[in-house]
């Protein structure tokens, strides 16, 4: 706990500066898109949020597997603390995507595969929180939370691959590992900075949330009284 506390201000301010600089660069210093006009600038807010929401679910899945196999209590505290933050990031991704859809596609909601799967991810995050809170915070609740996270992780490949498998309204990936990016380089750099900065900010939120969860669950131990 103490090393993280010492490093926390650095992570926070560094990621905040990166994020704000990238957003500023993306909003004001990049040229206008030929097809979409100026509304494409929402990409600097929408892409990091959706990327982080899927990565947070993968992190929850790995932590749940660690809990089920090795019975490390800290893992399940991490799973329970990531769940609300995942819900917030998925909410941001859904809202920014809908508002971006109004000038681009003419409608703010389409029933195509990737959008519906992201909505399913949001509902799964909320269901995880409600399932864990309906028990009285004992070992049974932790086991069920981990199992539900693992079973629900079938949704993540569907989100990632749905734009490849079915031709839908949502555009396919512009940044892949193997090919030249389909987006112009001038617009690509603020996107990278934005993703890195947003990741840092969400890491800070996860650290805060885990601190809250650990203090709440280990209330009766003696080291908590000394720490607080």
């Amino acid at each position: 706990m103490f090393q993280v506390n010492r490093a926390y201000p650095y992570i926070f301010y560094l990621s905040l500066i990166t994020y704000l600089l990238s957003i500023f660069w993306g909003l004001f210093l990049t040229p206008e898109d030929f097809v979409q006009g100026n509304s494409y600038r929402i990409i600097y807010l929408h892409v990091p949020a959706s990327f982080i929401s899927q990565s947070l679910y993968l992190a929850m899945a790995i932590a749940s597997a660690v809990y089920l196999i090795w019975k490390v209590k800290l893992s399940v505290y991490l799973v329970r603390s990531i769940a609300p933050i995942g819900a917030i990031t998925t909410f941001i991704a859904l809202i920014s995507g809908s508002i971006w859809g109004i000038p681009t596609w003419g409608t703010w909601w389409v029933w195509d595969a990737r959008i519906v799967s992201t909505l399913i991810l949001f509902i799964m995050y909320l269901g995880l929180i409600s399932l864990h809170d309906s028990f009285n915070n004992n070992e049974k609740a932790d086991k069920f939370l981990s199992i539900l996270v693992l079973v629900g992780s079938v949704n993540i490949p569907i989100i990632k691959m749905s734009v490849q498998w079915w031709s839908t309204l949502h555009q396919p990936a512009s940044i892949t590992l193997s090919e030249k990016p389909a987006i112009d380089l001038v617009m690509l750099y603020p996107l990278f900075g934005s993703i890195i900065g947003f990741t840092g900010l969400i890491t800070c939120l996860v650290i805060l949330s885990s601190k809250l969860q650990i203090i709440k669950r280990e209330k009766n131990k003696s080291w908590v009284k000394d720490y607080v």
């Binding site: 004001f28 210093l29 100026n38 800070c204 805060l208 809250l212 203090i215």
Partner: protein, 57 residues
């Protein structure tokens, strides 16, 4: 490489594109929502930690 796209504040608020549409309201509303969400989350978690620390003391 770095040339500022919008010259005045009014232009930056409206973000008019080549075909004359004003996209500023969409971009700025998304910026507002994202900033609100993230700042409220930070403030909420810090408040909860303070509250539970007070209860333990």
């Amino acid at each position: 490489m770095f040339n500022i796209e919008f010259n005045t504040l009014a232009e930056a608020l409206l973000m008019q594109s080549q075909n004359g549409q004003n996209h500023g309201i969409y971009v700025w509303s998304v910026v507002l929502i994202v900033t609100l969400c993230i700042s409220i989350s930070f403030i909420f978690y810090k408040y909860k930690i303070k509250e539970i620390s007070k209860k333990i003391k």
